[in-house]
């Protein structure tokens, strides 16, 4: 799917654009960072609204607590850091001062998954979905591209609840358009018409045999796998599960009923991640054969982003193989 025409952009850049947008629309929006303004794309906001931009220094615990206090006074705080530090380092402050206090802070974790690639395993967080989806009151969002990330910022600012937005440093293809609907809690089956593909690249998604549920930066890989599979006569549906919590239960159960087999794909540990959330839902409501694509109980390491995706099995080939495996099981 990635051809010369495909535009690449990271979800963190989409976030930065969205932040300026909500800053313009609502005076209550403030942005805080723990010494990572540039990296989490808050520079444009900081320049435009210097009085509403706050540096707390390298102190992520304080970042969460201060934002909670500001929200209690009616502000809409966006707190940005690398996901390894927030919600990684400050998980308990997020639990207590933000979620337990039910303050509508928007936690923005950048460089999630393997996207802090050259920095090595210390900075690659593959656990943040697990950490956040267990917290009551917290909404967990994982955008599939920069356009969706921008829409999420608007939706997060509007909802009076704490939100976590998982972002990537990696430049990934734009697969949705400004017109693609986004609503918190709604999962989309990526239909042909939604894709910015040239007509010869469109592929058949009719009567899918397998459902692929992907989130974040893995959605475009799932689409690429789906296209290649369709060429060999296997039609699969690709769902963009961009709200990991609350799950779009109806849409997931519907897809499981239609296909009878689900493959989940995420740039995260398999344990506790998006696939686990889907499995919890289906095990109770519509037991379905599943395959999980994700990192298997390992830390990351230094490399290029693509090298790491290949090493940990988060690529098109692995998705295709998982689909073929589950088809065999299905018989």
């Amino acid at each position: 799917m990635t051809n010369s025409q495909t535009k690449l952009k990271s979800t963190r850049v989409g976030f930065g654009e969205g932040l300026v947008l909500v800053g313009e629309n609502d005076q209550r929006v403030v942005a805080l960072t723990a010494d990572l303004k540039e990296s989490v794309c808050m520079s444009a906001f900081a320049e435009k609204f210097p009085k509403r931009f706050i540096e707390v220094g390298v102190a992520e615990q304080n970042l969460a607590g201060v934002a909670s206090g500001m929200a209690a006074m009616g502000k809409i705080p966006f707190v940005g850091s690398f996901a390894i530090f927030s919600p990684g380092r400050n998980w308990e402050q997020i639990r207590t001062t933000i979620c337990y206090n039910n303050q509508p802070v928007k936690i923005v974790g950048s460089h999630a998954g393997l996207s802090a690639s050259a920095d090595g395993g210390s900075h690659q967080i593959l656990e943040d979905i697990a950490l956040t989806r267990v917290l009551p009151n917290l909404i967990v969002l994982s955008p599939c591209d920069a356009i969706e990330a921008k829409k999420m910022v608007v939706a997060a600012a509007e909802i009076d609840k704490p939100v976590y937005i998982r972002l990537s440093r990696a430049e990934t293809p734009i697969i949705t358009s400004e017109e693609t609907p986004f609503e918190i809690g709604k999962a989309e089956i990526l239909q042909k018409k939604r894709l910015n593909l040239k007509s010869e690249e469109r592929f058949n998604l009719e009567k899918p045999k397998i459902g692929i549920i992907a989130t974040g930066t893995m959605v475009h890989k799932a689409l690429a796998a789906a296209k290649e599979l369709s060429e060999s006569g296997i039609n699969v549906s690709v769902m963009n599960l961009s709200t990991v919590k609350p799950l779009d239960e109806r849409a997931i159960i519907k897809l499981a009923k239609e296909t009878g087999a689900i493959v989940t794909v995420e740039e995260h540990q398999i344990a506790g991640g998006m696939g686990s959330a889907v499995a919890e839902l289906l095990a109770q409501n519509h037991p379905t054969s599943m395959e999980f694509i994700g990192v298997k109980n390992q830390f990351g390491q230094t490399g290029t982003y693509e090298e790491l995706l290949n090493f940990y099995g988060l690529n098109v080939l692995q998705i295709k193989q998982a689909v073929r495996r589950i088809m065999k099981k299905k018989g």
Partner: protein, 289 residues
């Protein structure tokens, strides 16, 4: 200056609060005794003198905010709020720590909306109070106003108080918040430390020494005061002076006697985290006549 009459009134209130604390703890069967009794005077002073608040309108937007960071001393917070008229004393006694009660084992806003914050895990309340104070200051600045002194009083319309235990200063997050408050020059923030020198495992200076405490806060850019936390005049002077520091957060280190008012409970770390039984409670109430 507090009048003699006011001091007499505050003493009376503090004693009523202590009695309620003992009664609720006996009924609860568990909870913290030393801290709540030790802080009864500070809470009586705040709720019956210093705080600008309206118990009939707990969500009044112009109220001063009181963030209790050390949530485990909530028996005294509940008791003072009851005596101030937020809810009835009768409702409180008998329902602390009971299932479905507004008076959870540690403060929870969903169960008791009049609270400013839900707390329990230590070292977190100061950051929340700092965030509140900053949000308020930011609004002034966005509107192009500055906080200035005028004839000894200030334009600061509301103050943000934060109650901290001394042992929770062992949490690193407290100092992250302290450093940040100094940087932001939060003159509308007043922290009060319950310096009772005990913690669960023993005396603070043995478990993890905090001294020199005042100098630590000064180094972080705070105005500091150290007072007897059972002396209403000293308390009032410290708060009045703190309010004149418009470009510096203030901390009042209130030396208190844990378990104050009941000889049996005073200065004993073992009373940090346990509640009196019925007999102990009756004895204590006799002392608190």
């Amino acid at each position: 200056m507090l009048s003699d009459e006011k001091i007499k009134f505050l003493k009376l209130k503090a004693n009523e609060i202590r009695r309620t604390v003992v009664e609720t703890l006996v009924n609860a069967g568990s909870g913290h005794t030393a801290g709540p009794l030790g802080m009864a005077d500070v809470f009586a002073y705040l709720f019956f003198h210093a705080l600008n608040h309206d118990p009939k309108k707990p969500d009044w937007s112009e109220r001063d905010r009181l963030v209790v960071s050390n949530g485990h001393i909530c028996p005294v917070l509940y008791a003072v709020m009851a005596h101030a008229g937020y809810f009835s004393v009768k409702n409180l006694i008998g329902s602390l720590r009971k299932f479905g009660s507004p008076f959870q084992g540690h403060p929870q806003r969903d169960f008791l909306p009049a609270l400013e914050n839900s707390s329990g895990p230590l070292g977190e309340g100061l950051a929340q109070a700092v965030g509140m104070a900053l949000a308020e200051k930011m609004d002034w600045e966005i509107q192009g106003r500055t906080l200035v002194l005028k004839k000894g009083s200030t334009f600061i319309s509301k103050f943000f108080f934060c109650i901290l235990s001394d042992a929770e200063l062992q949490e690193g997050s407290t100092w992250e918040a302290a450093m940040f408050a100094g940087k932001e020059q939060l003159g509308n923030l007043i922290a009060v430390i319950d310096r009772n020198k005990i913690q669960i495992d023993g005396f603070t200076e043995k478990i993890m020494p905090l001294e020199p405490l005042r100098e630590k806060w000064e180094a972080f850019g705070w105005h500091t005061a150290e007072i007897n936390g059972h002396d209403f005049r000293e308390l009032d002077e410290a708060v009045s002076v703190a309010k004149t520091f418009i470009a510096k957060p203030s901390v009042i280190i209130a030396r208190t006697i844990p378990g104050k008012g009941v000889k049996e409970f005073e200065n004993k770390p073992e009373w940090h985290g346990r509640a009196p039984n019925k007999a102990e409670g009756e004895k204590a109430l006799k002392e608190l006549q």
